[in-house]
Point group: C2
């Protein structure tokens, strides 16, 4: 298949919005000679509060843009989309390699400590759909997994409030029912199960003391290297280029990006791509 | 037109999600004999970070459900949708009366004090599109209007963090650049230009001291009474009924609703209605 055998094609990185830029940042660092094509489906964010079928439809639709543009691998840098759409994306775009963020996070959490409950901080939907619990129960059925919703941290990260006493106080209040629930049990780790959360990692580490805080993006980057090298698809010795695409609001995308990406981009660096919803209306029942 | 001459039809209340329930609450209180039909377009929330054309498309599409079900008036309980889609909604559904939340807020702010800058707290998009500044500049061109984005307050309200020292500290931090900008000038009022914010009104009042904090929903309710009574469409002496519809995630809708509505509802009280995006993909330019 031509799609997956061209070394010079970029790696596609998909997210519902801008949180996936923390994953892109880790990939850019770990793969300095690769090109990247990032797509944020900002017209339909956030995926985290929508139903599984809706998220699946949106993810399948949006990733068509990346695949049509041409990528040698696809990274789903969105926990919600990974949780409900990874299988469907792999099936639709085979033999293109499609990697999600959940398995790397689960693997990283098992590597950090051999016992103690694994705490996953996530959006409401990732927590509710038990994506981390499901994969961890297959990898290590004896381990306890606690999926803790922290939706407010998404807004905090987008506001650019990443550190300082007030941020730590907010994190502390969000986690206090968790630690009350845990009692004297110390968790093995705190896994950042939402791509927005790594920008709060330092503040969170202050709050939780010696409990390791894990960003799955680093393990994911290692998986991408393994995968590409096994297929002789790694580029070498060339300068890295990254292109950004968003389905709406490129000015906001560019403005908020710096927090997550670690460097500034302008709206001119972001291409607006359109997913046109040709909408028909269907009511399930008549309430008149 | 049959649509607008039936007293027993409900008043339609439209929002992108659940924030509009604060408007519904004010309407329920002010119009105890009217029925209401609320629709939250939760499949596509938030409107506040999307482009004007996208918001307009979504609002026109979603309101078809309310109009098709049958309403005697339409209240757009969403600042973003009011800002960019009110004209289009009025045109599309004429002669059905369609009221938005922005004009009532502007009127209320002018009634509270005859001088001093009017501060509007809003989502990023409402602030950016200058909907309040535009209407206030036509009603009172001499007044200064400051539209201040407070996106984080939306997440705070949805988390149910409505009061207490930490909430006040967060509000205080969000407003501190505003008060630094104002210097010694005292604002005439603080207008809550997002329907999520009224649940934080008490905490905000603590933070801003003697500056009046205005919830536009009360003025809006008075406008609805005037409108219906002028057309002899007010119901009398019958029990109020309210129906809830959402385009996605009815469990979450029901769970978060209590904060905004003031009473609990269950997911069985919320009807799932579907806006099906038949999506086609169009790229604006080739980036391969």
């Amino acid at each position: 298949m031509s799609l997956s055998t061209n070394k010079d094609l970029p790696i596609g990185v998909f997210d519902s919005g801008i949180g996936g830029l923390t994953v892109l940042r880790a990939l850019q660092h770990a793969l300095p000679h690769e090109n990247f094509l990032y797509l944020g489906d900002t017209a339909r964010l956030p995926y985290g509060t929508k139903s599984p079928q809706t998220v699946k439809d949106y993810a399948l639709n949006a990733n068509e843009i990346l695949v049509a543009t041409g990528v040698k691998a696809l990274v789903v840098a969105c926990n919600t989309a990974t949780a409900v759409a990874l299988d469907a994306l792999q099936e639709k775009f085979q033999p293109l390699p499609v990697l999600g963020v959940i398995a790397p996070g689960a693997i990283a959490s098992l590597e950090i400590a051999s016992e103690g409950p694994i705490v996953v901080l996530a959006t409401e939907s990732t927590a509710k759909w038990h994506a981390y619990r499901d994969i961890l129960s297959s990898l290590a059925p004896e381990r306890t997994v606690i999926e803790w919703p922290c939706q407010l941290l998404v807004a905090l990260a987008e506001e650019g409030w990443c550190e300082g006493p007030l941020v730590e106080e907010i994190i502390s209040k969000l986690l206090s029912p968790l630690f009350a629930y845990l009692g004297n049990t110390k968790p093995a780790c705190i896994l950042l199960g939402c791509t927005h959360f790594p920008v709060l990692k330092s503040a969170m580490q202050h709050v939780v003391g010696t409990i390791p805080v894990i960003d799955p993006a680093h393990t994911l980057a290692a998986q991408v290297i393994t995968l590409l090298s096994s297929q002789n698809l790694l580029r070498a010795g060339t300068k890295q280029e990254t292109q950004f695409m968003a389905t709406d609001g490129i000015e906001r995308f560019a403005r908020v990006a710096q927090t997550f990406l670690g460097y500034a981009i302008s709206s001119e660096d972001v291409e607006l791509v359109t997913v046109i919803p040709k909408i028909t209306t269907a009511k399930k029942a008549n309430t008149a």
